[in-house]
């Protein structure tokens, strides 16, 4: 039962693995740029605000294309 509960808890955050990986990569990249001083804070904010909705759009379009093809 513990295994099933843990699996369900991981499932809370990860459904489409590619979406989860993209979100983590975006956050890691922006964090690295912001914390190293290579990107000013306003640019880091702008990158997050553009890249995260874009990741969602890409994931939904990919799933819709697969779904409507009946895969």
């Amino acid at each position: 039962m513990i295994g099933a509960v843990i699996k369900q808890l991981i499932g809370l955050f990860v459904d489409d693995e590619l979406l989860a990986a993209t979100v983590l990569c975006v956050v890691a990249l922006v964090s690295a740029l912001a914390l190293s001083g290579l990107a000013p804070a306003w640019l880091a904010g702008l990158m997050l605000a553009l890249a995260l909705p874009a990741a969602l759009v890409a994931s939904v379009l990919r799933s819709a294309r697969r779904g409507t093809r009946g895969d």
């Binding site: 955050f13 990860v14 989860a20 804070a41 605000a49 995260l52 779904g67």
Partner: protein, 248 residues
């Protein structure tokens, strides 16, 4: 001191998200109660609530030990994963790519499974039924605890987030106790759509703030992010719905 907009956003997001989780837990507890009796259903649910209280008692004090920027970062990233996952599924359900979640079907499935399982004598405690109710309340309850921590902890608004969640759980339990049926008429996908938008917006806000981003307008930027994710999600529905209908 956080402004009224932030407090309403936090309590509202916590209420709506917890409402959905409570409806899902109620469906299973009702199925167990009606198929196998109320003793194991309520015992399992009560044991899960005790386990949840222990989890909160252990995790609660840790919140004040973790530095606020680290807490905002971890919570922000988890909210982004959680919120975008809900929003993605709600969009795909809205356009018909995946089936809507049906509480009546979930109730029927759970009842059938429990009825088909070997019946125990009435005096013996029904462990299968009790564990089923325990697991459902524990898993959905952990989601509620996470939601409360995620939307409330990063701004010191745990009290308002907890109040929203508690109100949702009490409302669902009261309606469930009154009608003894799953709450199938709750517009679950619309709620998940709204919650996905709000949690994604909170996630974006707190991840940025933890990295030192001074969002224009302060806390009011959360409203702008809600508008951003809502616009993106509605645009995707508008784009994909005619195509999905054409191919259906």
């Amino acid at each position: 001191m956080p402004n009224l907009t932030t407090i309403i956003s936090v309590a509202g997001a916590s209420f709506a998200a917890s409402f959905v989780e409570a409806v899902e837990a109620l469906t299973i507890v009702l199925a167990v109660g009606l198929a196998r009796g109320w003793r194991p259903a309520l015992s399992g649910a009560a044991a899960a609530i005790v386990a949840l209280a222990l989890i909160v008692a252990v995790l609660g004090p840790l919140m004040s030990v973790v530095p606020i920027h680290a807490l905002q970062f971890v919570v922000g990233v988890l909210l982004l994963l959680f919120g975008q996952r809900w929003l993605r599924k709600a969009i795909l359900r809205a356009v018909g790519v995946i089936a809507l979640h049906d509480e009546d079907a979930a109730f029927a499935r759970e009842t059938r499974g429990l009825t088909e399982a070997q019946q125990r004598r009435s005096r013996e405690f029904d462990w299968i039924a009790g564990v089923t109710a325990f697991k459902a309340v524990l898993v959905e309850g952990i989601e509620v605890v996470f939601i409360v921590i995620a939307v409330g902890a990063a701004r010191g608004l745990l009290v308002f987030a907890s109040a929203g969640a508690l109100a949702a759980c009490v409302a669902v339990a009261a309606v469930g106790a009154a009608i003894h049926r799953p709450l199938a008429r709750v517009p679950e996908n619309a709620l998940k759509f709204a919650v996905g938008v709000m949690l994604s917006a909170f996630g974006l806000f707190w991840t940025g703030e933890s990295l030192g981003v001074g969002w224009p307008g302060g806390d009011a930027a959360i409203l702008a992010f809600i508008a951003l994710f809502l616009a993106v999600a509605l645009a995707l529905v508008a784009l994909l719905k005619p195509r999905a209908a054409l191919l259906a």
